[in-house]
Symmetry: C2
Subunit: 114 residues, 2 copies
């Protein structure tokens, strides 16, 4: 692929003036986390978990506040867990979720370092 | 909607133990920003712009590093601009983009306060 001509002829050849500050692999990793955060229900679920007793919440207490079925909430929680944002622990009948230590801070740090 | 029964009968009635820490409106606003960030190409474009001279970049210099057509890059840039993450300035033939002051910090702060 060739660069399109630019109005600034002094720098229009040879090399792009802009070079990547993040690798493709890092961008993919980061985007996966942000994609998981890019849904209002998942943002609310994270916020509910963070506000729960001991920073955790039973899925049985997450359905009513967001007004969705347990199946739908489970699907959202799976996406958050796959992105590494929450951890899941089964206790008897119910799954409990907690915010992964450092995950939100790490995502925030990435944003600040972009 | 009624809460499902829980194993912990001492708290299974009356009120959810978990209450929302973020409003629906705030969650929607936040999720829009994270959705824009939830794509590896857009993360790379933001990173390229931040690394550009003066913290800005001409769209003509963004196509080659990501290996995409100008039309595709323009589409990604529109999503980033709509989310308030970049500002756009037309200079003659080309559009120049800069990271919106404070936008990434604000998103990072939101993550830390979840």
């Amino acid at each position: 692929m060739s660069l399109p001509a630019t109005l600034d002829t002094s720098t229009s050849c040879c090399a792009p003036r802009v070079t990547a500050a993040i690798t493709v692999e890092d961008a993919e990793r980061v985007a996966r986390v942000f994609k998981a955060l890019g849904d209002p229900t998942r943002v609310r679920l994270l916020s509910l978990i963070a506000a729960g007793d001991g920073g955790e919440a039973c899925i049985c207490d997450l359905t009513a506040p967001v007004g969705l079925s347990q199946g739908t909430v489970s699907h959202h929680m799976k996406l958050l867990a796959d992105a590494g944002l929450v951890t899941r622990e089964q206790r008897g009948k119910w799954a409990y979720f907690a915010i992964t230590d450092g995950a939100l801070d790490a995502a925030a740090d990435t944003l600040r370092s972009v």
